[in-house]
Symmetry: none
DNA sequence: CCACATTCCCCCACTTTTCCCCACGAATCA
DNA sequence: TGATTCGTGGGGAAAAGTGGGGGAATGTGG
């Protein structure tokens, strides 16, 4: 299994396009088909991008859950409601739809961050706050039970 | 099982490359295949380097945990988000990507420090602060229950 | 149903980074 | 003192990221 790893600084051009880091394209392209992906938002304030196959597994899981649950409905309104699917253009870029761009506060410089099964797209300042050393140290304490 | 031990002063060249100490290469190359490794960051402010096999075990463990957990997500954003995998070039060097170089404050002189299963790469001043006698003395006290 | 504006995607061109390869110098050992 | 090993430096081809022009597609308003 190949995973998304690492962080890369890329730039969103005037047309709202960004190049996906080459390393991420390799992971996406397990078999070298179309490289389709689904992009949505994360409550932390960034965008999340899934390979289409991974996203579809999530959808099936959601489908199988009790649909009357209000919390689930709220969650789906968020995750699915923001979702945008697309493919890479021939230069390996994706187009970030204006609402998503605005949600994540993306200007010219954006960070790609790999987190195993998917990757995220961040505004630099927000990323720094979310992954600062202090924050990580305190989180590590709480996790120590898990592994 | 061979372990990483000792400290070595090497230099990062203008292109961001450093030679891995020969003793470490021997440990990495249990069988003399590709010598692949994964480099990431540590909250203490240095870089950590794992043989690829060791790193993959970590990833598998993380994958098996509940993915909705916010603390885990923060942790992965940090550990995996900074990770960079690579191989040694024919001179036994690795390329330290600019974001990692900056994170760890690496300039020309860098220290390699072996810590059993993995090794670290340090800026000299930071290493001195992190391993000063006073600090180690106080830490040793707290450990006395463990062994 | 037809103009018109807008969005999207292809192509091309430029710059920067990465990764080969070769070569030098210091240290070690015979 | 020659030979080998190890760390260091640089040249150059290839790859990756960036930006812009223009045609096709889409959607909107008359």
């Amino acid at each position: 299994m190949a995973f998304f790893r690492g962080r890369y600084l890329h730039s969103l051009d005037a047309k709202g396009r960004v190049a996906i880091p080459q390393r991420f394209r390799e992971v996406l392209g397990g078999g070298d088909e179309a490289l389709r992906l689904v992009m949505t938002v994360d409550p932390e304030g960034c965008l999340v991008v899934y390979p289409e196959a991974v996203w579809q597994e999530l959808e099936e899981k959601w489908e199988s859950l009790p649909q009357m649950n209000d919390e689930l409905k709220t969650y789906l309104r968020f995750m699915v409601g923001w979702a945008s699917d697309g493919a890479l253009d021939r230069q390996g870029r994706i187009l970030v739809p204006p609402p998503l761009r605005e949600y994540a506060g993306l200007e010219h410089d954006v960070w790609f961050v790999g987190v195993l099964q998917n990757f995220e797209i961040w505004n630099g300042d927000r990323l720094e706050k979310a992954t600062g050393r202090d924050r990580v140290r305190s989180v590590t304490q709480k996790l120590s039970g898990l592994f």
